[in-house]
């Protein structure tokens, strides 16, 4: 394995988002806080998702996970499509890096961005309301593996898209609805039967639900089941991404 090569690509990907930290780290934290202020204020008195848990407290893990997932996706997909469109991806493709090293570096960098943004939302939210912590390990596991799954999906989108417009379509028509409808703002038990059943086909729901369990020790489905779905999603997406990278799909002619 070209360990230094892998480390360099990881470092480059981290440096890339760090250099535009206002856009990649601070802006998503601010967006999540705005959601918290608006939805928390409007719905605090009207909604109780889990017994004994204030709505604002319920909302915070959902917003955290939404930020984690969306930013992990945004990192790998935008880095890849920018490099493709500007043409500088060749500087990576002409090196001795294998497709596995390429994959791991892109995924890990995206996980770091997702987790850092999630932590930022958490720290900022603590100013408004204290949160219980049932299990830090469960939180971290769902954040890391969930963001890894979205990072792989980001690589697929970045490989597939030929222009920014297509990537925006992927983000707006697939990622955004799936995260919004994953139970960020509500417990699926408050939904009509049909929508409740449909939510079980949304893998983002399990990421969210398991993550929330890490705070409250309460969830809509069992955390084991959620974690299994997250791992299965990650495994399937990784297998597909690795195969696309091995073939050089849309990057090696």
């Amino acid at each position: 394995m070209n360990l230094r090569g892998f480390y360099t690509l990881l470092y480059k990907e981290l440096l890339r988002f760090y250099k535009v930290g206002f856009q990649t780290l601070l802006a998503p934290v601010l967006t999540a806080l705005l959601y918290l202020l608006v939805f928390g204020h409007v719905l605090e008195e009207h909604v109780q998702a889990f017994p004994g848990v204030r709505y604002t407290a319920f909302l915070i893990p959902g917003l955290m996970m939404m930020a984690v997932l969306q930013n992990a996706f945004a990192n790998s997909s935008s880095s890849l499509i920018q490099s493709k469109i500007t043409g500088n991806l060749i500087f990576i493709l002409m090196t001795p890096l294998s497709h596995v090293e390429f994959f791991l570096a892109f995924v890990l960098a995206a996980v770091v961005r997702g987790v850092v943004v999630g932590a930022g939302v958490y720290l900022a939210a603590l100013v408004f309301i204290p949160l219980p912590l049932h299990s830090a390990l469960i939180l971290l596991a769902f954040a890391v593996f969930g963001s890894a799954a979205l990072a792989t999906l980001g690589i697929i989108a970045g490989l597939w898209a030929d222009k920014f417009d297509q990537l925006a379509g992927f983000q707006n028509f697939i990622i955004m609805p799936l995260t919004f409808l994953s139970g960020v703002f509500y417990s699926i038990h408050s939904l009509p039967q049909f929508w409740q059943a449909l939510s079980h086909f949304n893998p983002f729901f399990y990421m969210n639900d398991g993550f929330r369990y890490g705070f409250f020790g309460v969830s809509d489905v069992s955390p084991e089941r959620s974690f299994a779905v997250v791992l299965l999603s990650l495994a399937l997406l990784s297998a597909l991404t690795l195969e696309l990278l091995r073939r050089g799909y849309k990057i090696r002619s």
């Binding site: 230094r4 360099t8 470092y11 480059k12 440096l15 250099k19 535009v20």
Partner: protein
Amino acid sequence: MTAAVAIRGVHKRYRNVHALKGVDLEIRRGEFFGLLGPNGAGKSTLINILAGLARLDAGTVAVLGHDVVKDYRQARRVLGVVPQELVYDPFFSVREVLRLQAGYFGLGRENDAWIEELLDALMLADKAEANMRSLSGGMKRRVLVAQALVHRPPVVVLDEPTAGVDVELRQSLWQFIQRLHHEGHTIVLTTHYLEEAEALCERIAILDRGAVIALDSKQGLLARGMDSVMFTVHTESPITQLPAALESKVKRRQGNELVLQLHRRNDAIADVVDELRAHGAVITDLHTEKPDLEDVFLELTRKERRP
């Protein structure tokens, strides 16, 4: 001795286009090799296969004995490619770009001295901390050269390295490339400036429509044009009409200048002058010269296009 680059029976298709049709080519170690051809000849496809940016459909390509598919890691370690397009990463400074590029090849801080040497040699030292976006086109081109050399590859491919580059930079780039060649690097050059290839390359391959149509030493190629002589006449006013026999020999016509490609033995210059005068031309100056690489190149590629 293992060839610097060994290309055997390479085929490449893009949907309906047969871009490379069984290319065979061997580039020796330490050679300054020219790869010429008109647009769409397949030069860039061949270089992309060499660099791992394109996949071949059939055949084999090896760099210093390392197969570019089976042993791609080693093949890429011994190869540096200066791409044709002026591409760069807008997030980083020149030094960051070079350190990152070295890192991909497994090199760390121990390579910093070489990076400094490259920055100096390519006159980039005072721009080392500048962001890539702020550099002029010529400087970006020099960074591309530095990136290709950052891992000290013994084989260097330059794909149109001086396209759109001013004369001064072109000269300094060539001095640097010649220095590399004298130090033992194998240099493979594609260029549209045939005078560059004529001045620098020891052997030249001409690629046309996906096939090698000539592979020879520079002298050997130039000798192919020895049967021809270029005859240039300047007239008082532009010649609008020529006899059919001369019309077919016109190589170039620009204002008052007319260039004819004559056969050394079959065409008598005195007869040509008489014919021109008979058609009303008032000749103010004339001279002959041996064909250069450009003439040979055009002749060979034209032949290929004749039915």
